[in-house]
């Protein structure tokens, strides 16, 4: 291998995945085992003491999962990664590593509904207090920062679709206040946006979506950008203080620019336990090999469908940053010139009733609560994912009664447009 940095398409196939050292297997083997034999007693002690590289027990690490970790780290341009059971688990371990009870973090108000619930409710039990900021207004993040703020959390392309966040502007605020910026890059995937290039410090993924891409496996990934210095003061004790469970080791010092990923593994994953199954890691890895091809096709199809809907008589508005008229189009050109992703929302003139009818009448689009599948997906948030919110909250969250969300798949775009036409006619 020369010293020239390999291209994204090459990394998507090769990063982390040399032939198996023991058998020569070329595809990454599924190491479906709980535990690994130690070479000898001294080796076991070294592994438990974090003094040697190696495998102990699949809750802490697994060779199949490790390939996924290195693959995503390489694609994002990070120093290391940790694969976990779901995107939610990834967020949980990140905040567990950064926050102590009573701490705060600032989060964009346009996020996946599950993240909003997690932050508003579950995290309160740990004394982790979310402070909401306006995803469209970087200054609102700065205004929300207090001495207790330990992190900023945003999505690159934000739910419920069609929103591009100004990552660099928010990263500049995070840097000014010496706070790490966490970016959920699920909707963009590193093919469209690599947040580290815009100043992010930590990236999280629901690998369930575009990384895996086939709607068959739940998984999450944490990527360490290696850019944030967690030492120097006492704000991040998980990284900057001696850890009694590891003989007084200071993880941030010992593991340097991949210390955050290691801390998420040896403190968070070890003690809280949301390990990814090696089988799921294998499925996600197989998906990632075609990520560049799929993301381009997702984006191209989504643009064609969005353009069609924008001209349809029963559609009141379309929110897709790929459209030249869209309010986020300039940000899309800056952050994701190859395409604006697969997911977007549009409004029906017929309101709530028309939304319910549309999802019932579609024949190719599947009515379900996921995104990032090869198949095209549709949901009417007001009657499903956002049902529990008040009407006012629904509108604020971009899930008003007339709103329909699409995750455009990889089918022939003419068939998708035909399907939407016939369902709109019937609505």
């Amino acid at each position: 291998m020369g010293e020239r940095a390999p291209g994204f398409e090459t990394l998507a196939i090769h990063a982390g995945a040399a032939p198996d050292a023991a058998t020569g297997a070329r595809a990454t083997p599924i190491y479906q085992t709980t535990s690994f034999v130690f070479d000898d007693v001294d080796h076991a002690a070294s592994l438990f003491g974090l003094q040697a590289f190696g495998n102990i027990y699949s809750r802490l690490g697994n060779p199949t999962n490790a390939v996924l970790e290195e693959r995503v780290a390489a694609l994002e341009g990070g120093t290391a990664a940790l694969a976990v059971a779901s995107g939610h688990a990834a967020e949980f371990l990140v905040f567990h590593t950064l926050l102590q009870p009573g701490d705060e973090f600032v989060a964009a108000n346009k996020l996946y509904g599950g993240s909003i619930n997690q932050f508003n409710h579950s995290y309160k039990n740990f004394g982790w207090n979310v402070v909401w900021a306006d995803a469209d207004d970087p200054a609102s993040f700065e205004a929300a920062i207090t001495p207790k703020t330990k992190a900023i959390f945003i999505e690159s392309i934000a739910n419920p679709g069609g929103v591009i966040v100004d990552i660099a502007a928010i990263a500049a605020i995070a840097k000014r206040h010496n706070i790490p910026l966490i970016v959920d890059n699920t909707m963009a995937s590193p093919y469209l946006i690599r947040p580290f290039e815009f100043g992010a410090d930590i990236v999280v993924h629901s690998a369930t979506k575009f990384l895996g891409g086939h709607g068959n496996s739940i998984g999450g990934v944490i990527v360490d950008g290696g850019t944030f210095n967690f030492g120097g003061d006492d704000r991040y004790p998980m990284l900057s203080k001696p850890r009694p469970e590891y003989g007084g080791m200071v993880l941030g010092e010992t593991f340097g620019n991949f210390g955050f990923a290691i801390a998420c593994r040896v403190l968070g994953l070890r003690d809280l336990g949301p390990a990814l199954s090696p089988f799921n890691a294998f499925m996600l890895l197989t998906g990632i090999e075609t990520l560049p091809l799929r993301m381009q096709r997702h984006s191209d199809n989504a643009l064609a469908v969005a353009e069609h809907l924008a001209g349809h008589g029963k559609v009141s508005w379309v929110s897709y940053p790929g459209l030249t008229s869209d309010r986020y189009h300039n940000l899309a050109k800056q952050y994701c010139p190859k395409g604006a992703g697969a997911v977007f929302t549009f409004g029906l003139k017929g309101g709530y009733e028309a939304g319910v009818k549309l999802v019932s009448n579609l024949k190719l689009f599947s009515h379900l609560a996921n995104i990032g599948d090869t198949r095209s997906l549709v949901i009417h948030p007001a009657s499903t994912t956002h049902r529990q919110l008040t009407d006012e909250q629904k509108v604020k969250a971009g899930a008003g009664p007339e709103v329909v969300r699409l995750s455009v798949g990889l089918e022939d775009k003419a068939d998708l447009i035909d399907d939407l036409n016939q369902a709109l006619d019937a609505a």
Partner: protein, 175 residues
């Protein structure tokens, strides 16, 4: 020599050539990075000689600790500096007064002293700065990938087991 970017071949060549390593700034605390690196390199078969004036005469991981480089009663191939960048200057000069000269002066991750490096290179001594030999061994052998760390190494060749079990890899992977 570009001390911001070392080629994998340069690092691999050094790690495959040296056998005896004097580790300046050795610690007896197993939670300290210098202890961990000494243990790791010793496990890989290097003869690591700990240097620390405060521990002189004691044993560390079965090896006698010396106060300074000049006290080592035999030649060393590499001097690994586990001190700060400023201290790396005089330690480099001590290393350069050894006879025979070491082949390599290696400054640990976060340690960099360009003037000292120049003095060493003027005498034909190879220099590595701001790198950890444990990380570099792990990267080039493939071991570090087990921890999900971005090794920045792509290969269609099988990593080579070092023997003595399945959890140790060697540097002899075909390129």
């Amino acid at each position: 020599m570009d001390h911001d970017n070392y080629s994998n071949d340069y690092i691999r060549g050094i790690l495959q050539t040296v056998k005896t390593i004097a580790l300046v700034g050795a610690s007896q605390n197993p939670a300290r990075p210098s202890w961990i690196v000494m243990k790791y390199l010793a496990d890989k078969g290097y003869d690591v000689i700990p240097i620390n004036p405060g521990l002189a005469g004691k044993e560390l991981l079965g090896k006698t600790v010396y106060a300074r480089l000049a006290d080592i009663p035999h030649p060393v191939d590499m001097v690994e500096i586990f001190r700060n960048s400023e201290a790396a200057g005089p330690i480099t000069d001590e290393a350069l007064s050894l006879d025979p000269l070491p082949k390599v002066i290696w400054m640990q991750l976060s340690v960099r002293n360009d003037e000292a490096a120049k003095r060493a290179e003027n005498k034909g001594v190879q220099v590595v700065m701001n790198r950890c030999p444990k990380i570099e061994f792990g990267r080039i052998s493939g071991e570090i990938s087990w921890q999900g760390i971005n090794s920045r190494m792509l290969s269609s060749k099988k990593p080579v087991l070092a023997g003595k079990g399945f959890q140790k890899l060697s540097l002899n992977r075909p390129r």
